[in-house]
């Protein structure tokens, strides 16, 4: 067993590795990350995760729900550290996995991967507390500077394969399967489907209605009327979504998915502009790089000032325009607590994925991860809609890309005492 595998094993048990090993790990990680562009290309299938915030036991729960590395291909959208009590264990484990399986895990930068923010929100203090000096904090911050700013997911399927272990199970809703593609599905942590929505196979335009089935209590994806119930099924994490290869998606293709921690910037009108940023630095207080990590979508028109004090608010028109110009079907981002774990906005043009359940041990929210399946309809050839304007195929312009099938796995905070891992009793602050 290599040192790295041993370190992974140790960190999985929520035990820290020696400072010298952290230093070596961070050095290796930097060598790896320096080769990545500002916008990493990732092929579907992939499981997209939002904020972790040092909630180590919940990260273990995430791996339980979403599948282990390297079996599942993961993309983490930043904010690994701060707020929770195990930022070190969480980040170092992810970093070890990155070094061990560089093609199976992608890490991009969040606004908390910053020297300034970590001194206020806990990671710095945790490093001092656990290692007795700021050395490890410094090594980690140097890694932060090399993290990519975004990722583009290519080759996602527009249709989910129903997550049942037997896809031809006669008990599932035949109406839905005959008439529509399974577009979204929500599963709870036991793998039971709680909601699914279909879109008609014949696509008249990009704005088609979806039919939603509420099986268990609904999530807020769509207000479409419910249809007949289907039974609960269990799906294998990380692998469930794949194109059915029956030609149904011949007339449309799935646009690329841009993943970024915060959102858009008024200074960035194309994915290529992100590629031009000199990212290897502390997160600036303003400018394009800051905006990508700090901005939030909001129900406004155009741009607005952010109440956070950094980044901007951007409206549905901005998202629509950006997606259209860049041949994107979806922007996946994190950065904002959503009580239901995920939240789609602007006709599904953007989704917030939040992966820290019971955030700060106080908020009472559930968490989610987003699985995008692989489109196998082209014999595995990926339609290169990689965010470069104008490189669409002749059949359908950038406006007619279809959104990817989206499977959300929702999970709750881990029961800490059942895992035999050290768990300091969290004390959340209140006003007393």
């Amino acid at each position: 067993m290599s040192d790295l595998d041993r370190a992974i094993e140790q960190l999985r048990a929520c035990r820290l590795i020696p400072e010298s090993q952290v230093r070596e790990l961070c050095y290796k990680a930097r060598e790896l990350l320096i080769e990545e562009g500002n916008v990493v290309s990732v092929d579907a299938p992939v499981t997209i995760c939002g904020d972790i915030h040092g909630q180590f036991h919940d990260l273990m729960e995430l791996f339980r729900v979403g599948g282990d590395v390297p079996d599942t291909n993961y993309l983490f959208m930043g904010d690994f550290v701060d707020r929770g009590f195990y930022s070190l264990e969480s980040f170092l484990l992810l970093l070890c996995l990155k070094v061990r399986y560089p093609d199976r895990i992608t890490l991009i930068r969040g606004n908390h991967e910053s020297r300034q923010i970590t001194t206020v929100y806990g990671f710095y203090d945790e490093c001092i507390r656990k290692y007795g000096s700021a050395n490890v904090w410094r090594y980690c911050c140097e890694v932060f500077d090399y993290l990519a700013l975004g990722a583009i997911v290519l080759g996602a399927s527009s249709e989910l394969e129903p997550s049942g272990s037997n896809a031809n199970d006669l008990t599932q809703s035949t109406i839905a399967v005959d008439d529509g593609e399974l577009e979204t599905e929500v599963l709870n942590s036991r793998g039971e489907v709680t909601m699914s929505s279909y879109r008609p196979r014949q696509r008249a335009s990009s704005d088609v209605d979806t039919d939603t089935q509420d099986i268990l209590p609904p999530r807020d994806i769509s207000a479409a009327p419910s249809q007949t119930s289907a039974p609960t099924r269990t799906g294998a994490p990380g692998t469930g979504a794949s194109g059915d290869g029956n030609g149904s998606s011949m007339t449309s293709r799935t646009g690329a998915v841009l993943c970024v921690h915060g959102g858009l910037s008024p200074l960035i009108d194309s994915v290529d502009k992100i590629r031009l940023i000199d990212r290897k630095q502390e997160v600036p207080h303003e400018g394009a790089m800051c905006d990508l990590l700090w901005s939030d979508p909001d129900e406004i028109e155009g741009w607005g000032l952010s109440p956070r004090g950094a980044g901007f608010l951007f409206g549905g028109d901005i998202v629509k325009q950006f997606n259209h110009q860049n041949g994107l079907s979806l922007i996946a981002r994190a950065h904002q607590l959503v009580m239901e774990g995920y939240k789609e906005m602007f006709d599904g043009g953007i989704v917030t994925v939040w992966s820290a359940p019971n955030y700060c041990y106080r908020c009472g929210n559930v968490a989610a991860i987003l699985e995008l399946g692989e489109d196998t309809s082209n014999g595995g050839t990926i339609a290169r809609s990689n965010g470069e304007y104008g490189r669409s195929n002749g059949l359908s312009g950038p406006s007619s890309v279809s959104s990817p099938g989206r499977r959300y796995r929702v999970f709750e905070a881990a029961a800490q005492d059942t895992r035999g891992m050290p768990a300091k009793k969290p004390v959340a602050d209140y006003f007393l």
């Binding site: 929100y121 109440p307 950094a310 607590l337 908020c363 007393l432």
Partner: protein
């Protein structure tokens, strides 16, 4: 002024240790000489300790520039200074300025010109609160305000020790022990001066009993009075919380000064003094955040006992009405107060102090705390006119 006689403070402790849990065997008719320490329950100790938590939060907000409070440092236990997270600092800021605004409007009502219009504030569970010092530091208030604080003896003793050892605080209050204008009880848990009184008293012992009324030295039953409960009554049983307020609204201020217990009959008549109440406490225990709050605090031994009874803005307004604050009842959560009471300029200043990393979390937290305020002003004396224009939140 001659030093007022120190009352037998043990009288106030009667009724302590009533029937929760194992302490029920010691009935309230026990000899008043019973030592207090022996009767403080673990639960009480935890409630008392919440004061330290609040003062650490206050000092954090002061040191980062949210609040200007020169008294915060000396009234925070030494070596307990700790930087709070930005979300907590902002909450401490909003809570403080919200109550400050209501207090200012009470003290500055249009009718209060000239020196004859004295006013009185009674702060329940005040602990190490600095408000009294901040108010007396203002020349326009110092001559016409009488300020009372009521808290557990363990908390009042700590505060009095701090005052004794801190000339800055004595100067702020205009008291000097050598000048004989202040008296401190032998136990060191009660302080009386012309305009500032600290009463060591378990609020649960307050009841319509002449001996208790007399022991609350210096309370002027004829002055326009403001009651403040800042995260205090919520720790009592619902029936106790009502009893405490009723003690003030009906017993102490329900009848004209000087009347005997027969004053009960005159309750509600026109010559009751103007009386107001400000409450600050958590609300909304029934959503995901609220449920988590209740269970998290429970693991620290803190029970928010009236939370479910006064669980919403609406319930707080009804509570105020039921306590006789007929002239007005209003409430707003901290999120609303930040949005609507704090000027844009000030908001910008505060937002610039620290970056708030998570707005949704702030809103969530801020929506679970509320300020409610109610008043009665049956002479139409305009004492609470300033409260009529304070933006209040409608709905629950």
């Amino acid at each position: 002024m001659a030093a007022p006689q120190i009352p037998n403070l043990n009288l106030l402790r009667r009724g302590r240790g009533r029937g929760r849990g194992s302490s029920s065997s010691s009935s309230s008719s026990d000899a008043p000489e019973n030592s207090q320490a022996g009767r403080v329950t673990g639960k009480d100790r935890i409630v008392q300790s919440t004061d330290g938590d609040a003062s650490v939060s206050r000092l954090s907000a002061v040191q980062l520039g949210y609040l200007n409070d020169p008294f915060a440092r000396v009234l925070t236990p030494p070596n307990s200074a700790q930087r709070r997270l930005p979300i907590i600092n902002r909450g401490t800021y909003v809570r403080t300025v919200a109550i400050d605004q209501l207090v200012d409007r009470f003290l500055n009502d249009p009718s209060s010109t000239g020196s004859h219009c004295k006013k009185q504030i009674i702060s329940l569970g005040a602990g190490s609160d600095t408000r009294v010092f901040r108010l007396f530091a203002r020349r326009d208030y110092s001559s016409r305000l009488i300020y009372h604080e009521i808290d557990f003896a363990v908390n009042t003793s700590a505060k009095i020790r701090t005052i004794r050892s801190t000339p800055q605080l004595q100067r702020g209050l205009g008291i000097e022990e050598t000048k004989d204008n202040v008296s401190i009880s032998d136990a060191g848990d009660a302080l009386h001066s012309p305009s500032y009184h600290i009463h060591p008293c378990d609020l649960r012992s307050l009841k319509a009993d002449p001996s208790i009324t007399e022991s609350l030295l210096g309370i002027d039953r004829g002055l326009p009075t403001l009651l403040i409960s800042e995260c205090c009554l919520i720790y009592l049983l619902p029936s106790e919380a009502v009893q405490v307020l009723t003690f003030f609204t009906e017993h102490l201020f329900g009848s004209p000064q000087g009347s005997s217990e027969k004053g009960e009959l005159q309750r509600g008549c026109a010559n009751t003094v103007p009386l107001g109440l400000i409450l600050y406490e958590p609300i909304r225990p029934n959503d995901a955040f609220g449920r988590t709050m209740v269970s998290n605090l429970a693991t620290r031994g803190i029970q928010l006992q009236t939370l479910h009874k006064y669980s919403s803005l609406g319930a707080q307004r009804v509570r105020l009405l039921e306590q006789g604050f007929r002239a007005g009842q209003a409430a707003a959560d901290i999120d609303f107060i930040w949005e609507w009471w704090v000027s844009e300029e000030e908001k910008e200043r505060v937002a610039g102090l620290e970056m708030l990393d998570e707005m949704e979390e702030w809103k969530l937290l801020a929506q679970h705390y509320c300020v409610s305020w109610g008043w009665r002003d049956e002479d139409d004396s305009a004492v609470f006119d300033g409260w009529k224009t304070v933006p209040a939140q409608s709905g629950d």
